[in-house]
Structures are given as C-alpha cells and as structure tokens.
C-alpha cells in the first residue's frame, strides 16, 4: 500500500485527496507556491513543501520541483489531481522513472489518449462510434461533394490543417454544397497555406455525456455510470449531473458498454472518463466518442453520490495494486445528484475573474448537500490560478428534488468580499429548459445567454434594517467576519482531526 503521497495540486482537489489519505492511513504531503502559503490545503496535510513562486509554471507545473519535493519528503506516490500536470505524459513518465507510483494510468496511455487523432483511430478500430468524417484523398469539388453525401447532411467542412473556425463552413442544404466547399478551400488556403478540407457530420444540438470508467492491475474494467455536463460556457462546464436526463434506458446501457470497450482498448488503469457527444433523443439517439480524460474529473462527486463509491479512495487502492474495491457489475445508480461550480467571477461584467479576500464565507449545511471548497473565510483569492472556489453537490431521490435542494444550498452559501457566479447558477437552476432537462451545450450562448445579466439589483426593503443594526454592533462598521468571533461558523474548525 502507498505510504506517503505527494499531492501535486492545490485548492479543493488537494483537500479532497488529503481527506482520502486520512481514511486510508496514508501520509499526505502538500506542495504550495508562495501565493498559497496560508491556503487550506497546506494546513490540512501531514507535511507541506514550498515549491516556488506564485506563477504555476514555476511551481505547480514544474516537474523538477515536484520530483525534488517528493524525494526530499520520502514520498512513494504522486496524485496529480485534475488540471496542472494531471494529463501530462512526461510527468507521469518522470514519476515512473523516479520510482514513484503515479496515481493514474501509465504514461503511454496518457500520451496515446492525449493525441486526438491517435485516440480516434484507436476507438474506430475498437468499434466505438466516432463522429463520422474524414479527409478525402480526392480533394476536387466532385470528390468533396461525394464525401459530403457519404457523411450525410448536415456537415461541417473545415481546414484539415488547422482550427479556430477558419476555413469552416456548415452545410445544411444540398444546394449549398458547391459554394461552401469553394469558400472553405479559399479560407483554408489563405489561413494555413493548405486548402485540404476535412468533412465531418455536424451535430446540431449536442449534449455532453461522459462515462466514468475504472480499471485495475488485474484486468478488471468497469463503468460507474454517466454524467451529463451540457451546461457549459465557452467549453467550461458549470453544472453537472447524474443520471443524465437525456438518456433512455437502452441508450444508457449502450453508452456505458461503449465506454468500457473504449477503456479496454486503451488498456486503461485507474479512474478515467470517456466523453461522448449525444445527438438526438430517446432510443434513436446517437452518441459519438469525443475524447478520453485520463484523470479524475472535477465533477466526480456526482458519481460518488449516486453510486456510493469513494472514487479517490478507489484510486489510491488501485494504484497500490489492489483490485477494484467493488464486485464487477454490482453497482447501482441511486437517486439523482447535481453539482454546481462556484467561480470567483462577475457574470454581470463579462465573467471578469475576481480577486480579493473572502470577508465572509459560510458553507451551507443540510441533508444531501456536500461542499468541496478550496477556500475558507479570510482566504485570499489570487489572480494566479483557476477561479473555481468550490463545488456544491446536492443529491436527492429525484432530479426535481435535487434541483430544489441545490438551489436552497446555494442561497445559503454567502460569500462576501468578491463577486461569485452563485446568482447566475441560481438563475440557471430556475430556467424552464434546465428544469425540463433539455439543455444542450449551446444553451448558455443561446437561450440562456441573458442569464448572465444580473436581474434586479435593488436591495430588498428589509436589508437596510439589518445594516443599521450591523453598524451599531461592536464589530459593525469595521471588517466583520475575520475576527475571532467568526470561528463560530468556521468550517475548518468543525472538521476536527480530518481538517488539520
């Protein structure tokens, strides 16, 4: 079994991993940059090592510094968390060569799945559906026309050589094919010096469905059901849930089986996620492999809530060579769980990231609510890292009940001193399309775009009375929430032995 684990991350995920270490009797080693010396994850770990200045490239992204820290502290394993170096094959390889257990798949698997083309080829060979498309050898107008017909309308014609929307044309009508091919070719040639075109099926209203998979060293691979993450803003997931309201039982079974096939084809070990695009609805819905994430996901708690599995604990057991800590095929998906990501950003001002001190921060407590936070009252939110502050996960018997519970929890999560996206999250949860479970990945850029605008910002009439009393109270008028009295609600204090 792993004895001492270096946690190569920060924030809420570092705390999540440290908590799992406590339960397994594994010693935890935190690392921190100069900006994080007072961060909660540093206080929570058994040991903590400074690894450099605030910019991540000199600290959390520095492979030599992390390996030095592991060596100096006598760690025998490394957990990369998510983000930073978690999907960096060079880091996994360096750990392997240094004799450290990397809590994740082998470096070769990370490298293969990190290449979109290699991953797609592998999945096609394994029989996992991919978005139909190819670069035809015959690049004449006729050749491309035939390829468009073979792939089937609607299609996306795009530059084979590059991305960024240049040389990209949507074709929905057969009459547009000729003009679109020529325009795309001209743009591609101008932008990339190469007019070669790729033809791909256009999924018009895709939903993002992903399947949690898990493999051990004994050849066992299982899935832990799906998550739906269609509420996204600029490809950033904001709200995730399990089960997906979009899947019929038959499609749910097929997508899970395809994910296991995909993981098996990749010779996958430890926790991973197969992401799919879902096109259409009901039993006729089609799904296509998008990519594989070779790490723990931000949204893993919704899977934990519906399956009862502690995924991080399972990661540490499997990395230590133990078999999957459940019997294959024995899991059930119970109830419904929804996660909302709380970001330090101001939706009313173009989602501008916020930095500053949390003057007041009180976590909600109610049955069926879990909060994974990387900050506490008095924490300084810096400009250096991802602005995610916390995740709030609500689970209940039904989706409707989970929505109500999550809304109630977010209303009871006061964060003062910086703006957060909580009011925006509440507006999404209240939107009829979210409540009906019909949101696709374009929702927040289309129907839901107006939700970013702060509604009525007139304070309710009763607010002034509370403020007047606050001004008269001993701490009022000065900074409240950072004094000794604030610890009455301090979540770190109530963690007891787990927190320190």
């Amino acid at each position: 079994m792993i004895k001492r684990l270096l946690v190569a991350n920060r924030g809420e995920i570092a705390l999540r991993i440290i908590r799992a270490c406590r339960e397994l009797g594994v010693e935890s080693v935190a690392v921190y940059s100069e900006a994080d010396a007072r961060a909660p994850h540093v206080a929570a770990a058994d040991r903590a090592v400074p690894i450099g200045p605030a910019p991540a490239v000199d600290s959390y992204l520095s492979i030599p510094r992390l390996l030095d820290a592991a060596r100096a502290e006598g760690a025998d394993a490394v957990h990369p968390g998510y983000g930073f170096l978690s999907e960096n094959a060079a880091f996994a390889g360096a750990c392997e060569r240094a004799g450290l257990v990397f809590v994740g798949p082998p470096a070769s698997v990370i490298a293969q799945m990190g290449s979109k083309i290699a991953a797609r080829t592998l999945m096609q060979k394994a029989g996992v559906p991919v978005v139909p498309g190819e670069t035809p050898e015959d690049q004449t107008d006729d050749g491309l026309h035939r390829m468009v017909e073979r792939v089937g309308l609607p299609v996306l014609v795009k530059a084979s050589a590059g991305g960024g929307g240049k040389g990209m044309r949507r074709i929905r009508d057969a009459a547009e094919i000729g003009d679109a091919i020529q325009a795309a070719r001209r743009e591609a040639a101008a932008a990339f010096g190469d007019g070669t075109l790729y033809v791909e099926r256009l999924v018009e209203h895709p939903r993002h469905i992903e399947v949690q998979v898990f493999g051990d060293h004994h050849g066992r691979i299982d899935h832990v059901f799906e998550r739906e993450c269609s509420v996204q803003r600029r490809h950033q997931k904001i709200i995730e849930e399990s089960p997906s309201p979009a899947l019929s039982p038959a499609v749910r079974e097929r997508i899970a089986a395809a994910a296991v096939t995909a993981a098996r084809a990749a010779h996958y070990r430890n926790a991973g996620t197969i992401e799919f695009l879902l096109d259409g609805s009901g039993d006729a819905a089609q799904f296509y492999f998008l990519e594989m994430n070779t790490r723990l996901q931000v949204e893993h708690p919704v899977t934990e809530a519906v399956s009862g599995i502690d995924l991080v604990r399972a990661q540490l057991l499997v990395a230590s060579g133990e078999p999957l800590p459940w019997t294959l095929g024995s899991l059930t998906q119970r109830g419904h769980a929804i996660e909302a990501r709380v970001y330090a950003e101001d939706p009313a001002r173009g989602f501008l990231p916020q930095a500053g001190r949390l003057l007041l921060c009180r976590e909600p407590r109610r049955p069926g609510v879990r909060v994974d936070a990387g900050v506490a009252e008095g924490s300084d939110v810096s400009v250096y890292y991802d602005p995610m502050l916390a995740k709030v996960i609500a689970s209940a018997e039904t989706r409707d009940a989970a929505i109500v519970r999550l809304s109630a929890a977010l209303q009871e999560y006061p964060i003062l001193g910086i703006r957060t996206n909580i009011p925006f999250l509440l507006r999404i949860l209240a939107h009829p399309r979210f409540q009906a479970g019909t949101v696709d990945t374009g929702f927040l850029d289309g129907d839901g775009a107006a939700l970013a605008e702060g509604g009525d910002d007139t304070p309710p009439a009763f607010l002034q009375a509370a403020i007047d009393m606050h001004r008269q109270s001993p701490a009022g008028g000065r900074t409240a929430g950072t004094g000794a009295a604030a610890t009455a609600f301090d979540p770190w204090r109530t963690l007891g032995a787990w927190g320190r």
């Binding site: 930095a355 003057l359 007041l360 400009v383 003062l416 009393m469 701490a475």
Partner: protein
C-alpha cells in the same frame, strides 16, 4: 407605510429579519463605506447611506480621466505614451489576470497625460495606470 420589521443579531455579521410575515437571514461584511450584504442568494455592495436613508450603490471616487485596474493584474502591453491622442473606445492597455486578457479602453476622446505602469508589472486594483486629459 413601514411594515413591521424585527431584526435580531444571531452571529458575527449574521442577522435574522422578520418582515411581512417572512423571515430572512442577512449576512454583512466589509468596512463602513464599502459594505457587502447577502440575502437569499443575492449579493449587494455599497455604502448603504446613513441610517434610514434609501440604500444606494457605492460611487468610486476616481477622476473621470484616471484609468485604473479593476483587479490585481499583470500589464501585458502599454499601447499609448504621454502626449498621444486617443478616441473613445481605443484600447490603451492590455492586462492579464487569471489567464484572461483584459483590455482597458479610453472612456472618451482625450490626450494621454501620463502612463504610470510598465509592461510586465503587477498592478493592484484602484491604482491609477494612465491619466487622460
């Protein structure tokens, strides 16, 4: 016209308000001229006047021609120098914070009087970066 209203302090910065037969929890923090308040998932910031005055938003006392950083950020590019004429909406500075680029634009037609920051410098909110006249 005032509804019966009862306020009870229940903790540091936490108040229970009964109003119109409903109760609310209000959380308050900040300093006197810049208070933050939270209730029912809504957040308000301002100086909230003197007792009894209608609430109003805090007006930041920056000169109309002083451009400031909205948050701690790194100066990526300075696009003007003293003496340059700028038009309303012209980008004069590029800042970067949390991996996002942020353009600072001229609020009106003006002449650059002085530039107080350098490329690569870490700047704090509210500090003047460029003076226009």
């Amino acid at each position: 016209m005032a509804e019966p209203l009862r306020v009870t302090r229940v903790g540091d910065g936490v108040y229970h308000v009964e109003h119109d037969g409903r109760s609310h929890i209000v959380y308050i923090a900040g300093s006197s001229g810049d208070l933050w308040a939270w209730t029912d998932g809504r957040v308000f910031r301002g100086d909230f006047g003197e007792a009894g005055d209608p609430p109003r938003r805090a007006a930041r006392a920056i000169g109309p021609q002083a451009l400031t950083a909205p948050m701690p950020a790194t100066v990526v590019k300075v696009l003007v120098k003293a003496g340059d004429a700028v038009k309303k909406g012209d980008t004069v500075l590029l800042l970067e914070a949390m991996k996002m680029e942020l353009a600072i634009r001229a609020p009106g037609d003006a002449t650059v009087r002085a530039v107080y920051c350098r490329e690569g410098e870490l700047v704090q909110p509210e500090t003047t970066l460029i003076d226009l006249q």
